[in-house]
């Protein structure tokens, strides 16, 4: 039987990888990819906890469904923003979009 810990470690690792992608990638779309990874790790976590703690309650899955919706919305808006910025500045390199610099 698979102990819970495996799932948790997996999701932690996935989360860290996604974090690395967010923090280290130059391309703005790649950053959003990293965020997707993180969201997925969260989902895995949620479903794992649902299954292992109290599968009779459906709340865990509901939470996961909501996370899906949020992730979709976020990706849509984020990519729209990236595309809009790309149109103005002709670049998707996150480092070059620094108009809030002092």
């Amino acid at each position: 039987m698979i102990p819970l810990s495996w799932y948790l470690v997996l999701s932690a690792a996935l989360f860290s990888v996604g974090l690395f992608g967010v923090l280290a990638r130059r391309n703005a779309v790649a950053i959003l990819l990293g965020i997707e990874l993180m969201l997925n790790s969260v989902n895995i976590n949620l479903v794992a906890f649902w299954r292992y703690l109290d599968p009779t309650r459906i709340d865990g899955q509901v939470f996961a469904i909501i996370v899906f919706a949020v992730a979709a919305a976020e990706v849509a808006v984020g990519l729209a923003l990236v595309i809009s910025v790309y149109r103005r500045r002709n670049t998707v390199v996150a480092e070059e979009i620094d108009m809030l610099k002092w």
Binding site: M1, I2, P3, L4, S5, Y7, L8, V9, L10, A12, L14, S16, G18, L19, F20, G21, L23, A24, R25, R26, N27, V29, A30, L32, L33, E36, L37, N40, N43, V47, W50, R51, Y52, L53, P55, T56, I58, D59, Q61, V62, A64, I65, I66, F68, A69, V70, A71, A72, A73, V75, A76, V77, L79, A80, L81, V82, I83, Y86, N90, V93
Partner: protein, 172 residues
């Protein structure tokens, strides 16, 4: 080592490997495709966890919509970035350290939890999780409000995305 464990390990390895590829590959199309692999892996895991509906929703929504959206976005922003040049920014090693520390910290926290090595309880057959899920999503005693709010959120995101990315006639 049961069969399930082996499946789990293979799936986990695929997931992690493809995740690493997502964040390291230079070619953005490849990155999006590696994401799709990762998402598939996650769907398999959901299935393993007896959350079949979630697995299907993962495939349909994430892979079918979101990943495609990513590919579109990549295609639309390809002018300057011809997959040349570094794909990691200047402080990537610091990010690696932070990511590692994060993983370490999470592992440490989780390992101190009593239920860390818990086993899955049995699942009574005949439990129709989909029906339960559907009932929960529309029941006033349960989660109809977050459900509706989520739909409003999607509407807002929709409108917002269209507005942000909208191109007026003649503007290029």
């Amino acid at each position: 080592m049961t069969a399930l464990q082996i499946i789990f390990l293979i799936t986990a390895g695929v997931i992690l490997a493809s995740a690493v590829m997502v964040v390291t590959t230079r070619n953005m199309i490849h990155a999006a495709l590696w994401l799709i692999v990762t998402l598939f892996g996650a769907a398999v895991l959901f299935a393993l966890l007896d959350a079949g509906f979630i697995a299907v929703v993962q495939v349909v929504v994430y892979i079918g919509a979101i990943a495609i959206l990513f590919i579109f976005a990549v295609m639309l922003t390809r002018r300057e970035m011809r997959d040349r040049g570094a794909q990691l920014n200047s402080e990537w090693w610091l990010s690696a350290v932070v990511a590692a520390l994060t993983f370490g910290g999470l592992f440490f926290l989780l390992s101190g939890w009593s239920g860390f090595s818990a086993h899955a309880p049995g699942l009574s057959s005949g439990t129709d999780t989909v029906q339960l899920l559907g009932a929960a999503l529309v029941s006033p005693d349960a989660y109809v409000l977050p459900f509706e709010v989520a739909s409003v959120l999607l509407l807002a995101a929709l409108v917002g995305a269209v507005y942000v990315a909208f191109q007026k006639k003649g503007e290029e």
